[in-house]
Amino acid sequence: MTAAIAAVGLGKQYGRNWALKDCTVEIPSGRICGLVGPNGAGKTTLLNLAVGLLAPTEGRIRVAGGAPAAGPEQLGKVGFVAQDTPTYEGLSVADHLRLGEAMNPTWDRDLASERVATLATDLKKKAGNLSGGQRAQLALTLAVAKRPELLILDEPVASLDPLARRDFLRSLTAYVAEVGVSVVLSSHLVADLERVCDYVVVLVQSRVQLAGDVDEMLATHRRIVGPRRDPASLPSEQTVIEASHTDRQSTMLVRTSAPIHDPAWQVEEVSLEDVVLAYMGGTAEASTTGRPTLEVAQ
């Protein structure tokens, strides 16, 4: 199966600054993949490159098997909801649907009107007068009604209140359940993605720090607490991701392929957020200490 997004050595330069540099990443299709990373990690740049709004300065990127925005066919394969969900302020909701229909040969009119009906808003209302949540839903409608193979969403819920956020994710997941589309969505908040995503890519300073299946990540990571101990003395099947020590105690987040039997350790389960933060945190020292990065093969 072709990857949803596959980039090799991808870079984008603005003046003297690199918004993304030497980024190599592969996001599998058929998943809801969360692209997580701190602000400035290059998430938006990567996604804009993927939909062809930007042209790379260096490197290559293939999206749903084709070059980004290479032609009408490729544009039809990829649906995009941009950051802050831009719409045409002066155009009504109905105008937007007509616009989508006029600009997309694969437009599904029934799907669009069905989705807009759940928005509970006047079709004649101007997009500029919609609430943030409604506007995001409208942008999502435009992106899904063209029946893409891959749906890319850039921080879709960042600016929404909790209720609108949940509604948005509900309608996104319901759509995915119905048509089985690949999804890549970015967020700087792991909590937004925890339930929605089954695959996570953590991007820090253009580098993939962690990429893999969420369930597998949760099953293989543990936090262990016990008397102070040198991380190097742990069994070989345990890899330390993050460690902190007091003079008596050691707390470590480890990746392990087997249960931890050592009675000295108090073993705790970790949340996705714990895992992601552990891989994200202290990446500055990653190169010097040789902190491992994880690639879970799928």
Binding site: L53, V78, D84, Y88, G90, L99, A102, M103
Partner: protein
């Protein structure tokens, strides 16, 4: 995609159409009356004996205020460039809606081409209709004045306003793409348009077709003048050519193309210093008392020198209109082609 472009342009189009309709109504009502006045004037002129000049002036004084609509036409292309051209892409870039537009199932190139074609055609149509209406309305006045070529009227008549409008529109679009912001694009469009128009008006137009030359003998009736500067005399040509023509240059030369030297003038007209006005005055007329001496002086100079006048005859009005329109349309096309290069580069 045509619908999308139309929907986004609709409110602008309505404003433009409303303006054109109002203009047409005013010009139609006054224009019909003006036609009527013109036929009356022609009948009176055929039989006039004494007050022909004031009859003419009276006719030309009709609808002075409506005539200002012709001057307004000069600004119409600039308005089109600023309000239709500059925001065309710049507003999309500014508001971020390009991220919506460019990720639909239509290529960026087709999106741009459709918008350009629709709004560009509207620009040409608006300026063309305006010019058509004014040209028709003013035709009686222009016929009497016989001054459509070589004056500011040239750019308020015929087809050149279409070229200007297309150029201003293209300038606006390309500036919008270059600056990615509407306001700087608007300012650039205005400045660029005024510059281009000024250069055309004062430098380019008279060279579009090589000027014709006419040679006039120097006689006292042709009324050439003498200039005195730094104690030396020179001749200033009369400069008039033919009725309705546009004089683009004139000079007094001999058979080999040389102008008379100050020494020659002094020699031919030894009495010049006597009836010279105080230093600094120029184009001194010949007062009655020195008429004879002056005639002699001109005769002496005229034996060797003659006046050459370069001009564009009135009959070249449409040829010049066509040339100038073509120049502006070609430049507009080049600018629009440049937009496709710009939009392919990264924009966000």
């Amino acid at each position: 995609m045509i619908w999308v472009s139309w929907r986004q342009f609709r409110s602008n189009a309505i404003v433009g159409a409303a303006g054109l309709v109002a203009l047409t109504v005013v010009l139609l009502l006054t224009g019909i009356h003006l036609e009527h006045l013109y036929s009356t004037f022609k009948a009176e002129r055929a039989s006039c004996t004494l007050s022909c000049a004031s009859l003419r002036q009276n006719f030309l004084d009709n609808y002075r205020h409506v005539r200002l609509l012709g001057s307004v036409l000069v600004g119409v292309p600039a308005v089109i460039g600023i309000f239709w051209g500059a925001p065309l892409v710049a507003r999309e870039l500014e508001t971020g809606s390009f991220r919506l537009a460019w990720t639909q199932g239509v290529t960026r190139r087709r999106w741009l081409a459709t918008k350009m074609a629709l709004v560009g055609l509207a620009s040409a149509a608006a300026a063309g209709l305006y010019s058509l209406a004014i040209t028709w309305w003013a035709s009686p006045l222009d016929a009497v004045n016989n001054n459509r070529i070589g004056t500011a009227l040239f750019s308020q008549r015929g087809i050149v306003p279409i070229g200007y409008a297309l150029f201003a529109f293209a300038l606006g679009v390309v500036a919008g793409l270059a600056f990615k912001r509407t306001l700087p694009a608007m300012a650039t469009t205005l400045v660029g348009f005024i510059t281009a128009r000024g250069l055309t008006e004062f430098l380019l137009r008279k060279h579009l077709i090589p000027a014709k030359n006419a040679t006039f003998a120097l006689t006292s009736s042709r009324g050439i003048g003498f200039n005195l500067s730094h104690g030396q005399f020179s001749l200033s040509p009369n400069g008039s050519s033919f009725p309705g023509a546009w004089t683009t240059g004139s000079k007094i030369v001999d058979a080999s193309g040389h102008a008379p030297t100050a020494a020659f003038i002094q020699h031919a007209c030894p009495d010049l210093g006597r009836f010279a006005a105080p230093p600094g005055a120029h184009a001194m007329p010949a007062p009655g008392s020195v008429d004879r001496a002056f005639s002699h002086c001109i005769q002496t100079i005229g034996a060797r020198y003659h006046e050459v006048v370069s001009y564009q005859p009135a009959s070249r009005f449409w040829a010049l209109q066509g040339m100038e329109t073509a120049v502006f349309v070609i430049v507009a096309a080049l600018l629009l082609a440049g937009c496709f290069v710009l939009i392919r580069r990264q924009v966000a």
